[in-house]
Amino acid sequence: MATLTRQGLEIELPDGWDGRIYRREADDGAVTRRALHAANFALPPNLGDYAVGAAERMTAGDVLVVLIEFDPARAGEGLYKNEGLPTGLSADDFSPSAMPRAMPGRTAAQWFFSVAGRAFCLYVVLGNHNGRATLMPLVNQVVGTLRIDR
């Protein structure tokens, strides 16, 4: 396991995993927010926030974890009313229809939450919907190491 930390975000990566933490590109006048990508396969460079370019390359045993920060004005309400990082992620949370666009075999899930007045989305993509149950221990192991600096 190796620690990747930057800008108040931290994650422990198992051997062979790629990871990156960065500030999202800002549109004119917008405030930049943090984002994190982690994967057990080779992450291509120049990915968008949801790492769709990486999801397109995924194979059956692949896991992609994405954490994106949103406008703190939304924290604690609506989609973001749940406080704290999600735990105990379940295979039942995943659906092929949660993919940004149809990608045969792949499946995804999103969790919206707030931490210390900041709004986040955790987005996890798996390479194989039918085999998602076998990947859940790995997903929970890695997501369980996520830390958000207050």
């Binding site: 930057r6 990156r20 960065y22 500030r23 080779a42 460079p45």
Partner: protein, 232 residues
């Protein structure tokens, strides 16, 4: 007035002599460093350093293993690249923004079309960290298709002797298959294709030898000594 002009003339001559002396001393130091093999660019390698080929012979580290890469990207992302334990092998290209030979590699990596990488390995470009390398220069040179990691620690861990330098790491085992320098990507492909073929040949030879020795000892496929005793 004439005295002032004379004094200035003498001062200028003395300063000129001093500058010439410093330049000669500097040249002498550089020449000595080259003779010691401390030059950083193969373009400038002198015959005295023993480099007679366009391709420096690869150094085989045997059982040496690679390291994961940790650093930043030229766009200031924190990044970690899984090298050891990865499913695919990785070719690490250690480049700098200043070395003459590196220019052709930056151009090749940034060029259009699919780049052939031996063994379908993943190509990752590694420069020194922002404290020792120009972030803006690397940002301008960075190709869109390949990750670029700025990490002085990686240079130290892989003991990079000069630029450009290439290391091929087998993903699942983390073993360094080979390493070396070259003047062009075609030479790198040739270098690694040979290293991979040698590695496969060594692996196959080891298996054959084990089979031969077992046969000589009278142990054939299915022999009971090949299987652990069954627990009752």
């Amino acid at each position: 007035m004439a005295e002032v002009v004379a004094i200035q003339t003498v001062a200028i001559i003395l300063l000129g002599l001093l500058v010439v002396g410093l330049l000669r001393s500097h040249a002498e130091i550089l020449r000595t460093l080259h003779q010691l093999g401390a030059g950083l660019d193969p373009d400038g390698a002198s015959p005295a350093a023993g480099v007679t080929s366009a391709v420096a012979p690869p150094v085989r580290r045997g059982a040496a293993t690679g390291f994961d890469l940790a650093g930043v990207t030229p766009t200031d992302e924190a990044v970690r690249i899984g090298v050891v334990g990865a499913r695919q092998s990785t070719v690490l290209a250690f480049l700098s923004s200043g070395c003459g030979t590196c220019g052709s590699f930056w151009g090749t990596f940034g060029g259009a079309g699919r780049l052939a990488v031996p063994g379908d390995a993943r190509l990752v470009i590694v420069t020194k960290g922002p404290e020792a390398e120009s972030e803006s220069a690397i940002r301008d040179l960075s190709p869109a298709a390949f990750p670029v990691v700025m990490s002085t620690e990686a240079w130290l861990e892989y003991k990079v002797p000069h630029t450009p330098y290439f290391v091929y790491v087998d993903g699942p085992s983390g073993r360094i298959i080979g390493e070396g320098s070259a003047q062009s990507w075609d030479q790198v492909v040739s270098l690694w294709s040979q290293a991979l073929a040698d590695d496969a040949s060594r692996a196959a030879g080891g298996e054959d030898r084990a089979d031969r020795e077992l046969l000589q000892a009278g142990i054939r496929p299915g022999h009971r000594s090949l299987y652990p005793p069954q627990a009752n």
